[in-house]
Symmetry: C2
Subunit: 332 residues, 2 copies
């Protein structure tokens, strides 16, 4: 491994996986951790438990802010294991001199999003560090959720499943990049930042046969599909034309040479459901504004185990790899 930690090691792609497996998993080795799910499943499968630290620049962006993000991010990780978020902790590290009014605004966003999830913050920690020791504010949230549907796991996907995505891709990454670089957009592009609890609860209530769920954050849909292909030892065949991308995001990608499938999302999830339940799943998702363009994007095969294939409309095939490098635009 590199002698120094690089930005690429933190961005959800290949180098990030290497850092996690060679340093953290190696030392902390245990059955639960090694499942590499979005949240750990503990207490005989009754509870899900997940952590995330949030840093974003700018702190306030179209469609959200770091407070909303910090609650959505952890609640979504719990939801992806079929759990209903219940208790969160909140730990903040604030730079000396940070505006109290901005902190209050962030905390209000958190409160609103907690209510939306039906969750409460039960324990917290507040540190203030000298100017220059942190970039404005970092927020960690860690959550416990009650699992409503057991057995959801990214280790069990098979050819009996189809792969869906809940909405158009890359809004968060594109929004943060545009905001950071001061790109003025005539469009009203905004982050997809949102809680997914209600969608997941509705899928469970409709008794959709869910195999796996994962929100496509850092590394985007590419990272999720590659993790799934490896974890379940399957080949995922993606129809390139089926990948939903909005005009606004497509424009930014064209301009800057990004691929929407690699961009971060904060309210977009990938689903593996049993083939016979595809329509039922899509019907449920289409009831929600945040997933009214949910669509099937891929099938599972045994063509190249552990790999993701991208099928173009011209009949060509190429591998869709886990993103590598600094994955510009950095979103955290």
């Amino acid at each position: 491994m590199n002698k120094q930690i690089t930005l690429a090691m933190g961005n959800g792609g290949e180098e990030n996986n290497e850092l996690i497996s060679k340093i953290f998993y190696k030392a902390f080795k245990n059955d639960i951790l090694e499942k590499s799910e979005d949240a750990a499943v503990i207490q005989n499968g009754e509870l899900a438990f997940s952590t995330d630290s949030f840093t974003v620049s700018p702190l306030f962006f179209p469609g959200g802010d770091i407070g909303k993000l910090a609650v959505c991010g952890t609640c979504n990780d719990l939801a992806m294991m079929g759990a209903k978020p219940k208790y969160l902790t909140c730990s903040v590290i604030i730079e000396e001199g940070f505006a109290t009014r901005e902190l209050e605004k962030i905390v209000r966003s958190m409160k609103k999003e907690l209510e939306n999830n039906g969750a409460v913050i039960v324990s917290g920690d507040t540190k203030v560090v000298p100017r220059g020791s942190v970039d404005k504010i970092f927020i960690n949230t860690t959550g416990i959720g009650e699992i409503q549907k057991k057995g959801i796991s990214s280790n069990n996907i098979s050819e009996k499943d189809v792969i869906l995505v809940s909405r158009d891709l890359g809004r968060h990454g594109a929004t943060i990049f545009a905001a950071r670089e001061g790109i003025e957009l005539s469009s009203d592009l905004q982050s997809d930042c949102a809680s997914l609890t209600h969608q997941v609860q509705a899928l469970i209530e409709a008794d959709v046969n869910i195999t796996a769920l994962r929100d496509a954050t850092r590394g985007g849909v590419s990272a999720v599909l590659n993790e799934w292909a490896k974890q379940s030892n399957i080949c995922i065949e993606v129809e390139e034309d089926a990948l939903p991308v909005s005009q606004e995001v497509y424009g930014i990608c064209e301009m800057l040479g990004f691929e929407a499938v690699n961009l971060a999302n904060e309210g977009t999830f990938v689903l593996a459901v049993k083939k016979e339940d595809e329509q039922k799943a899509l019907e449920v998702l289409h009831r929600f504004e945040n997933s009214d363009n949910a669509v099937q994007i891929a099938n599972v095969s045994d063509a190249y185990l552990g790999k993701v294939l991208l099928l173009s409309s011209y009949g060509t095939k190429r591998f869709l790899d886990t993103p590598t490098g600094e994955l510009l635009p950095r979103i955290c």
Copy 2:
């Protein structure tokens, strides 16, 4: 409130309490949070749940490092609610360019201390931020513990209790200050950084009638006693001469004008136990190297409700207040 966040607002004292109550508690208001215990008690009193973010400079200090600190700190918060630490999450924010070898060293310390507590890390998150966005590394750990003895609470202390402390005071604060300022000590002063799980388990097994426990971290023993006096609406009368302080810590305090009772500890806890169990509690504590000088330091009265009195050997009395200001030496 001040328009800007100040260092004093993060240091465990009066201003920290104001920030927490006026911004966080106000927004996140709920019964569990308002109990202000070291850890939240959830799931019908079965589980304790607590979070802490760790920043320390230097990262490696006599008696420990940020990794050991990050595991001890959260495990101790769980232990203080009578819980046995079971599952932890670990979320790190690393500065680009940080030495991989130092990260490995930190992770090894975490592993060792996890084993000591019988706990495992089941979920994690790794972020890397650009140079200058964070001071080397921040670690958040959040833990779940199984409560072995229900009903421990800092809201129920009464005149039937006596107050003990598990060891001599102020080692962590004094050590960090000396290390940071490059003060060469001829003594072998080192931080008290240690897990308290075994002591607490032994107290529970010996059936000591424990009312409350709290580890005296930021703000030291002064902060704990003041919180307890307010939460239980009692007066705590401390015998100044009974406060155990090592020669090394006393020397640093004399030199720099600190009071050991205000200094941070990372493996020292305050106990409120029923009077008749004082000897039993001390006998248990004295079995452990880290608490072989445990001693009674205070009684509970109704003299000044919500206040802490310091009684000198000359018969004078003064209030021991919650520390205020920047509480030099900053330890995080």
